[in-house]
Amino acid sequence: MNRMRNLFIGFFATFICSWLGLVLAPHIQFGGLKEYLNEDDNQYLPPARTGLAERGSQVYAANGCIYCHTQQVRPAHQGYDLARGWGARRTVARDYIHDRPHFLGTMRTGPDLTNIGHRQNSVAWHHKHLFAPATVSKGSIMPPFRYLYRKQRIVGAPSPDALQIEGPDAPEPGFEIVPTEDAKALVAYLVSLNRMYPLPEAPVDQ
């Protein structure tokens, strides 16, 4: 049994080493970050999300948006992110304290979304884009998210949030396309993605 015990001590020792270094130490060092209070305008950064946007982040998770979109801006010396206009500064740990789960991502089949709410804040555009991506972004290979929308018969006046769709995707006369609650939440989340504000550890002029 002596040998077995020693073998297991070895397995344990090598493993605990990385556990301490890559799990526990990061958690102790930056796992308890708080919002930063900007004294100029009395605003907490990063700003808390609205309930609808929070729900939208769950729609973002459920439909696997992270497989094509990152939400991280690397510093200028570590990539082209700033040069492409995807942010005003690199992102830091504090930017993500509200994220559950994290959406850093590992792939850019599509562009980075760290600040998509800053680049494109039109709710109507996002709905149209989710419904039929190639119609507003020619050449896009983003999958259509038509299943987040509902076709319904127009009763009386058309709904105010009905999508303005032309061409082959347009509904039959007498019908309209309206976003489901999931689509509304997702768009609220996308529009809320805006990390252009400066933080003490990551000033904008960096």
Binding site: G10, A13, I16, L20, G21, L24, P26, Q29
Partner: protein
């Protein structure tokens, strides 16, 4: 920050100590002796060294059995 460094320092020391202990144990327990016997421990009288144990189905066993080197290296050199 300081706590993190403390933990890192502690884990480095603890880890180093464990590594040294493991090494001393391994040397004492004879893990560094007789490597030949260790590497040969997967062979026995039924599947001895020098005898391949896998060929494509249908291939003649005589191709390999008894003359593994020939089968492995091709026809014997004159």
């Amino acid at each position: 920050m300081t706590t993190a460094y403390l933990i890192l320092g502690f884990s480095l020391v603890a880890f180093g100590a464990m590594a040294v202990t493991a090494l001393v144990w391994a040397a004492r327990a004879g893990q560094f002796e007789n490597f030949k016997a260790g590497s040969e421990s997967i062979f026995d009288s039924g599947e001895p060294i020098g005898e391949p144990t896998d060929v494509f189905p249908g291939m003649k066993r005589s191709l390999l059995a008894g003359s593994p080197t020939r089968a492995m290296k091709g026809p014997p050199r004159p």
